[in-house]
Amino acid sequence: MSRFDGFTERAARKLAMHVSRRSFLARLGALLAGGAALPLLPVARGAAESPPSDDPTSCDYWRYCAIDGFLCGCCGGSATACPPGTEMSPVTWIGTCRNPGDGRDYLVSYNDCCGKGYCGRCFCNKNEGDRPIYYPHRSNDINWCAGASTSVYHCSTAVVLGVAEEAQPEK
């Protein structure tokens, strides 16, 4: 028993001579601070983004990059056509979305369909290139049914107009 006590005493003294309490506290502090900072790394944010989808009833479909409303494809219409009983607003706003299939930017017209109450299905709120409402021609927060014969909003389409060639880079 005395041999065990002697071994333990020597080991404890050796440890105390080579490792200071200050060094232990510094390493513990670095570990805690480093662990708390891990979720802030850009790797974590990148991994949280949704991948583009090929499904035109998904908010992640590439041409919906700036849509704010209910997808007409879930409301009896399609990505380019209004449901029966509604009319397409003649005024709208137009933005650009990048097609991951060919890497090119396309002009997309987000025409609202009007004349029935809220569809209520497939709500999406994407805002690439969207501007505050005081830039009305570049804002998706406006009820564009104001330009139709009725201002009752039902759902939104995303009509591709063509390639956005030679676009001026946004400031």
Partner: protein, 112 residues
């Protein structure tokens, strides 16, 4: 010498098509949503663009044009906005209309 002329003409044609593409894209992003692909607007709600050519002919007309909120707030450089307005004036002018006046980037910067 003939090759140099051919290459020069090809470069001119290419730069013209690039400028045309830029005007069409700018029109789509800044104007087309309300004024439509044909510039006709919506009767009683959104004015036609056929009158832009007439506005460019006078100082008062250019001042009025640059005071339109959608024009003044266009997210384009002064040079690009001047080129777009001249393109709109020609593109949607009534048949037989005279060539519209010019607009310089400096004038756009002063009036917008």
């Amino acid at each position: 010498m003939r090759d140099a002329i051919v290459i020069g003409l090809a470069c001119l044609a290419a730069s013209g098509s690039v400028a045309q593409a830029a005007r069409e894209t700018d029109y789509a992003l800044q104007c087309r949503g309300c004024h439509g692909a044909d510039g006709a607007g919506v009767p009683g709600r959104v004015p036609s663009l056929a009158g832009v050519a007439g506005l460019l002919d006078t100082e008062a007309g250019r001042t009025r044009l640059l005071a339109v909120p959608g024009v003044r707030q266009a997210s384009l450089s002064d040079a690009r906005l001047a080129a777009l307005l001249e393109w709109v004036a020609v593109r949607f002018a009534p048949p037989g209309a005279a060539a519209p006046g010019k607009l310089t980037p400096g004038e756009v910067a002063r009036l917008r």
